[in-house]
């Protein structure tokens, strides 16, 4: 998802009887649905896992602006441009809500940026694919934001208060993102045959990477089990992927598109679709930094951060000067 394969430091899940009293009280609070707040006691592994997950989520929002930003100056109409600008601005906002949530756990903003820019921290694999046509902007909203919603809605019930509250704000805004994407495609498929072909081409390229967003099957993962015990993850990757496919295929049919999966078939018995396995070797390559746009995305982030240094420093210098002047005039009174 926006946070993929988050490690927890757990070798296995501890039972309540194996925990020291402090940890037992903590786990029982989580089990009864209480929220954990910033300054309260928490196991170090819980804190670290949340930092990994929330910062990865934040980085994804920030890097996620880049593929779409590519089309702001190329949007087909002024209205589409204004909508896309608002959407990309939302992504920046989502990144900021999440960075703040992570900061409550004791990591600084600059540390997180450093981890992103050095390549130490990950962001979602999906943003390492190029946006080749306007239809890709529609496909991102419809599929990528659609997949994000699947994951983010349950995260509103996450055990960590600041993260859960950030997700509430984000989910409210996310539905606009998905709809604007679908609307772009719905308009294009009613256009010329060439436009419809662009939409099909976009679906062909984005379908599998979208399914990969949920991450590989984690039914056997101790990290996933630990995250679930801590209620910072509510559903398995396969559950969410199934839900996404079941929701999205009828929408593709409505658009008159063909989902690029020969194994896709309605399964009456399970009440959902059967579908093929994504190419996980591609996923691991992208995660390892070898996707089509990894270098470009990180390069753009580093350049933006580097080029902005003089400006950030300038504002700091100005703020210090004004504060010093004020202190002087107060002293003179």
């Amino acid at each position: 998802m926006y946070a993929q394969m988050v490690k927890t430091d757990a070798a296995r899940i501890k039972g309540l009887d194996e925990m020291d009293p402090q940890e037992r009280v903590f786990q029982q609070r989580i089990d009864t649905g209480q929220k954990i707040e910033p300054k309260e006691w928490m196991p170090e592994a819980y804190r670290k896992t949340l930092i990994r997950q929330i910062s990865q989520h934040a980085h994804s929002e920030i890097v996620g602006q880049l593929p779409e930003g590519n089309w702001i100056t190329r949007a087909p109409t002024l209205e589409r441009k204004a909508i896309l600008l608002a959407k990309v601005q939302d992504e920046a906002g989502h990144g900021l809500y999440l960075y703040c949530a992570a900061e409550t756990l004791g990591i600084s903003r600059d540390q997180m940026y450093e981890q992103l820019h050095s390549g130490k921290a990950k962001y979602s694999s999906i943003f390492n694919y190029p946006t080749l046509s306007w239809a890709d902007i529609g496909a991102i909203g419809w599929l990528v934001d659609g997949a994000a919603i699947m994951n983010q809605v349950p995260l509103q019930r996450c055990s960590y208060g600041p993260y859960a509250r950030a997700m509430v704000r984000i989910c409210k805004e996310e539905s606009f993102h998905q709809r604007q994407g679908f609307d772009i495609l719905a308009k294009m498929v009613r256009g010329t045959p060439a436009q419809k072909e662009m939409v099909q081409d976009a679906l062909d390229r984005w379908w599998w990477p979208s399914l990969m967003m949920f991450g590989p099957s984690d039914d056997a993962s101790v990290h996933s089990a630990q995250s679930m015990a801590w209620k910072i993850k509510q559903n398995s990757n396969d559950e969410l992927r199934q839900k996404f496919v079941d929701q999205t295929v009828p929408q593709a049919e409505y658009l008159g598109l063909t989902v690029p999966d020969p194994d896709l078939k309605w399964n009456e018995e399970k009440g959902g679709y059967d579908f093929g396995e994504p190419d996980w070797s591609e996923f691991f390559e992208v995660i390892a930094g070898n996707g089509p746009c990894n270098a470009e995305r990180l390069g753009a982030r580093r350049k933006a951060w580097g080029d902005g240094t003089w400006f950030r420093d300038g504002l700091t210098a100005h703020a210090e000067k004004v504060a010093a002047r004020r202190a002087k005039s107060v002293a003179a009174e």
């Binding site: 707040e37 300054k39 906002g93 600084s108 240094t309 950030r312 420093d313 004004v322």
Partner: protein, 94 residues
């Protein structure tokens, strides 16, 4: 040489007549920029009619470990709630 901008807590009055409510935090070099940034980060959809920003370092918070001594005393004073008292039905609304 770059140093991190300080953290500010943001409070928004959603509508006239309501209290300001904490909505989140952000980084900014000074109060003026904090207000500007808060406008962009927290009120993109008409969420507010007024913004307060306060330096996070200026906020004094009670410690979670003080929860007992702080809040215990009021727990035992159930008579502060009107439902503590039984009023006979015949008396009517009170």
């Amino acid at each position: 040489m770059s140093s991190e901008w300080p953290l500010w807590e943001v409070f928004i009055r959603g509508q006239h007549g309501l209290n300001h409510r904490h909505v989140g935090s952000l980084h900014a070099p000074d109060a003026e920029m904090a207000i500007n940034n808060a406008r962009d980060v927290y009120t993109r959809r008409n969420e507010g009619v007024s913004i307060w920003v306060v330096r996070s370092s200026d906020i004094v918070a009670s410690a979670p470990s003080e929860k007992g001594p702080l809040f215990e005393p009021s727990n035992s004073k159930v008579y502060r709630h009107p439902t503590f008292f039984d009023i006979p039905d015949e008396v009517g609304h009170m």
